[in-house]
């Protein structure tokens, strides 16, 4: 696909354009990492776009009021984790389906993001040099952000494939009943992954705030559909139909390549939405048939 686009739109293969793609894909990759595992576990989390918005607003409000960037980010991450924890409580203690719990929590997160800025975005006058360096800096020719993402994903891949936690995760996704009977601590796992997902979503939000130099209560974009498409495309690419982190990273990059390529070709943006939707249906269908993934 990269080759195809570079062929039809020469601007695509421009080095700075490629870097820009990889950089935006990295931010998306942060957002979908937590989601990947939750989907692998057979649950769903719809909170991540709103928690990202909340994280960006939290950071912005503290920075505007003169708090140090790093402390502001720390507070933003910490408060966002509360939403993940709330998800966990609703699912574990009150035994409600993850979809319902996360719909409830996400509306609250969204409203909180709006309340922080009284309905408006918060514009930041300057970005701390450290954050600036994380988002835009380069080591040699490679953006620092990309290196961070690669490290993060390698770590995640290690956890997923080489530790007990990763095996528990897939065991829960494959056969919940059997997993419970062998004594896998389901509740702990649900808590930890929903909290992790909120933390990563919020971190993605902070990065977005730095990119837009503003805290946004509503990121105008299709992060939700993009995120799920990345997860399902990724599941299709590697590991025969199981959502997994490396796949999601590839999925996130593919989606960015697609979006960027179509824009350069001058195709209206809604065509991108349609194509992504179709890709997602294709991904789900293929997974369902190869693995009997559906619960019918």
């Amino acid at each position: 696909m990269v080759l195809l686009f570079s062929f039809v739109a020469p601007a695509f293969s421009n080095w700075s354009n490629l870097l820009e793609i990889v950089r935006s894909a990295s931010i998306n990759a942060v957002l979908v990492l937590g989601l990947t595992w939750i989907v692998a576990m057979g649950e769903i989390d719809v909170t991540f776009p709103d928690i990202a918005a909340f994280g960006s607003m939290m950071t912005a409000i503290f920075v505007v009021n003169g708090v140090n960037w790093l402390i502001a980010i720390f507070i933003a991450l910490l408060t966002s984790v509360l939403f993940g924890f709330l998800n966990g409580i609703l699912i574990n203690v009150f035994k409600v389906r993850a979809l319902i719990a996360t719909i409830g929590v996400t509306t609250v997160a969204k409203a909180s993001a709006y309340i922080i800025g009284k309905g408006n975005p918060i514009y930041l006058k300057r970005i701390s040099p450290v954050i600036q360096f994380v988002v835009y800096g380069k080591i040699g020719e490679i953006p620092l952000l990309v290196i961070i993402i690669l490290v993060l994903y390698s770590l995640a891949a290690f956890i997923q494939d080489r530790t007990k936690l990763g095996q528990y995760l897939y065991a829960l996704g494959e056969n919940r009943q059997a997993a419970l009977e062998v004594g896998i601590p389901e509740k702990k796992i649900i808590y930890s992954f929903f909290i992790l997902s909120a933390l990563l979503a919020s971190a993605g939000g902070v990065l977005l705030a730095a990119t837009f130099t503003a805290g946004q209560p509503n990121f105008q974009g299709s992060y939700f559909v993009d995120g799920l498409t990345a997860v399902f495309l990724g599941a299709l690419v590697i590991k025969a139909g199981k959502p997994n982190v490396i796949g999601s990273l590839i999925g996130a990059i593919l989606i960015m390549v697609l979006g960027n390529g179509l824009t350069l070709l001058g195709v209206p943006f809604f065509v991108g939405i349609i194509i992504k939707g179709l890709l997602m249906i294709g991904g789900v269908a293929a997974i369902a048939y190869s693995k009997n993934f559906g619960k019918s």
């Binding site: 997160a109 349609i274 939707g277 249906i281 789900v284």
Partner: protein
Amino acid sequence: MQRNRKQFMSFNRDYLSVLIFLGVLAIVMIALTLLNEYFLTINNLLRALKHLSIFSLTALGLTFVVTVGHSDMSFHFLSCFAGMTMSFFIGKGMAPLPSILIGLLAGASVGVINGITVGKFKLPDMIATIAIGSVAWGMSYLYSNGNYIYENFLTSGIIQFSDGRLFEIPYPVLYLFGFYILAYVVLHHTKSGRAFYAVGGNRVAARFSGIKVEKYIFIAFIICAVLASFSNLLLTASQGNGNVKGGLVLLMPAWASVYVGVSIFKKPSVVGTFLGSFLISIMQNGFTLMNAPFYIMDLIVGLTLIAAIIISKTEIKQKASVGKISKTNEIEAA
């Protein structure tokens, strides 16, 4: 004797959640009346009902999908497609009624695809409907490249669809009660209504007792799609323009209404959905009267949903201590 007692207890508990709910509703209504003298007037209540009708009808459709044990995450997307289809034909100068029908047809066709994908091909419902929905949403940009459509809106009479009144009662309120009574009769007093519940309760048993499981799932998705489209057509008519993002607001309130209903009656039901959406809507109306900013509406939806989840489960756990529950509940409501 023992069994009778047990039955009595469970009967009591079933009523308890309804009583708790009505208590909460009463407290909310009284509080809003005290805070604002305009709240409890006929005019305002009619306006609240008109506002309610839009997402309450969406929630009604979703009730059917939840009853057959599925989730639909596409109805808000496909309602945009229906709304834009109608707006496009209105803009081209077509009369309101055919445009409305074409809009509904457009929404229904997406519902058919949902039904086939989930019912027949058994793809995971949430993900498949999100994907199909986003395709439908992308298609709603086709008509105007994402721009507002407002040609002919004022002259064609489409506004009457939402703003017309029959004996002083706004049309949307009539649609609301019409659809709800119809749905109530179908879901709770007919054989096919019981079949919907059977499919949602125990699919294997339903199949063995001769119920065509796929057919009911298919129908539920179509009902959901049509009612969501209908709601967005009302919304489009009342706003006086076609907007590609207009229907997206329907998602959260509809899910919240259905699940408040589930926590009252312990299963999805027409009455429960109505009460759920009524509670949410009346609070939103009250806050609008107090000039609360728009984002408070989301907060109300989210907190009501979370509170409903918590209340319904606490109750099951502490079945014995009746007094305790209503007390904690009052505290939460206050």
